[in-house]
Amino acid sequence: MKQNIPGEFPKPVYDFKNNPLTREGFELGRKLFYDGRLSKDGYTACASCHQQFAAFSDFQHVFSHGVNSRFTRRNAPPLFNLAWQSEFHYDGGINHIELQPLSPMTGRDEMDNTIDSILATIRADAVYRKMFRSTFGNDTINTQRMLWALAQFTGNIVSANAKYDKMKKGKAVFNDWEQQGYIIFKERCAVCHTEPLFTDFKYHNIGLAVDTFLNDFGRMVITNDKKDSLLFKTPSLRNISRTDPYMHDGRYWGLSTAINHWQTCSPSDATADSLIVNGKPLEKMEVKYLVSFLHTLLDSSLLRDPMLADPVPGNMIHGPVQ
């Protein structure tokens, strides 16, 4: 199996060099991704909060529900083009795609499990044993192999087939509003939401006042550096029309509300980005054009790709582990 690298994309950060990509490995990762038994209550899979039809975000949820209906503290990000990402989480705390699943798997508000018990569940399942054997050549089932397989799946969720991409290839034409929006986008947004991945992978304070209940200071939690207070990673704008609500804490519903933030925000913090502090307001029509453009970033083939879907419909809900 070959890694899917769209022509216009830069070289991926994760190239499967140490984790050779195979159809078997990908399928194993896919099964793991959709398996609720990996959680403490048996119901919460990766896919519970990363739903394909929502570009692998949690559709219409501000926060996600983990085990025992506990709420997460941040809005579940969509998952695609992860092989181009060197840091994960809004605060960049995770430094490698292979390590990322450890966080939700063991997170109290998410799958709330232990690696020990996850491996025990997998080892007890004859289908998994067979899949590990055909992927790795022998019967060993350990953390490394489980996470390698997951990375084979998550690293191959690639989104590069939106109307925008087709337009770039000359296979589609933007209408007036979309074209106007694209021009505004390039002028006002592209500095951080850099094409073609629509993110600079950097951390910015866009003047979102801290939620006093969550007290989430973003990047600073990881670096312990005051300069990083309220900095969050730039999200990609691909598929953005499907990942409502917006921002790290899901505080804004609707694209125009999110865009309006840029003209109503008062930089609440000394570390607010100068792009925000010095930004000039958008006209009402400009917002509408931008929204039209953002809709061209929806990749409906990603949302429907059968290769990325639940391998066994209904597999996701297994019920409590006996």
């Binding site: 140490n18 984790n19 989480h89 705390g93 995770i94 430094n95 490698h96 795609i97 292979e98 390590l99 450890l102 966080s103 798997m105 063991t106 997170g107 690696i115 020990d116 491996l119 350990n142 953390t143 490394q144 996470l147 390698w148 990375a151 939690v221 990881i222 312990n224």
Partner: protein, 249 residues
């Protein structure tokens, strides 16, 4: 024809000899590193109560640390020999983890050094296995990186729930990098020869965590579970905890 056969046999014989010689050069002796964890003079026992040099009583429930990049330097040339690319997790709760078996080329050695912790490369290279498996509960899942050393227990001096104290010391980059090289001079030379086993018993004194360089009392600091200045200070303290207890040269 017969002559040719003879040549072949002779060549084969020479080849075998050469091969033997090759092995002879690589013949190695065994070195056993044995870690003995203590508080002051007393060996660690999870049931016992100890007192640190700040006068605080404590009981130990967990004590683990990573050892890697072990090197020995030979007495004559002062040359460093890297013994192993492996990572070892010494865990007070696992008897066999406290003994590390190494192979060394023959020679005389007078100094041993090792990294306390996991070097930065292994912290940024994705999922690892063996001693570095996150299963060993020495890996942060919310902020990628290894806990290099972990000490947990209870003390009446701790103000936390159940009088717990917890030190999970990590950080692999920048000014708060807590990994450090421990260099120990051996009280006598060890002579590694083929087929012989030498042994170095290294003692790790937990008391040093609280006072070796910085005064870090349990009452002031009952917990340290994030990277930063406090973690760095704890590491500077515990890097002083090792001494060579005994030697079987």
């Amino acid at each position: 024809m017969k002559y040719r056969k003879y040549i072949y046999v002779k060549l084969l014989f020479l080849f075998v000899l050469a091969k033997c010689d090759l092995y002879a050069q690589h013949t190695s002796g065994n070195l056993i590193l044995q870690f003995e964890n203590r508080v002051g003079e007393r060996l660690v026992n999870f049931d016992s109560i100890y007192e640190n040099s700040l006068g605080e009583q404590l009981r130990i429930t967990k004590f683990r640390y990573y050892i890697s990049n072990i090197k020995l330097s030979d007495s004559t040339m002062g040359k460093n020999y890297k013994c192993s690319n492996r990572y070892f997790l010494v865990d007070e709760n696992k008897l066999d983890s406290k003994t590390i078996s190494l192979k060394l080329p023959p020679g005389r050695y007078n100094k041993i050094s090792f990294l306390l912790g996991v070097d930065s490369l292994r912290n940024v290279s994705g999922i690892q296995t063996g001693a570095l498996d996150p299963l060993n509960d020495m890996f942060w899942t919310w902020k990628s990186g290894y806990v290099m050393a972990k000490l947990e227990g209870r003390s009446p001096s701790s103000s936390l729930q159940h009088h717990l104290f917890e030190y999970h010391i990590g950080g692999f980059s920048g000014i708060y990098n807590v990994t450090g090289r421990v260099i120990l001079s051996l009280p006598a030379e060890i002579n590694i020869v083929h087929g012989k086993e030498s042994r170095i018993v290294i003692s790790a004194d937990i008391d040093k965590w609280f006072s070796a360089v910085y005064r870090l009392s349990i009452s002031d600091h009952p917990a340290c579970t994030v990277t930063g200045q406090l973690a760095k200070q704890f590491s500077e303290n515990y890097l002083q905890m090792f001494t060579v207890q005994s030697l079987t040269p």
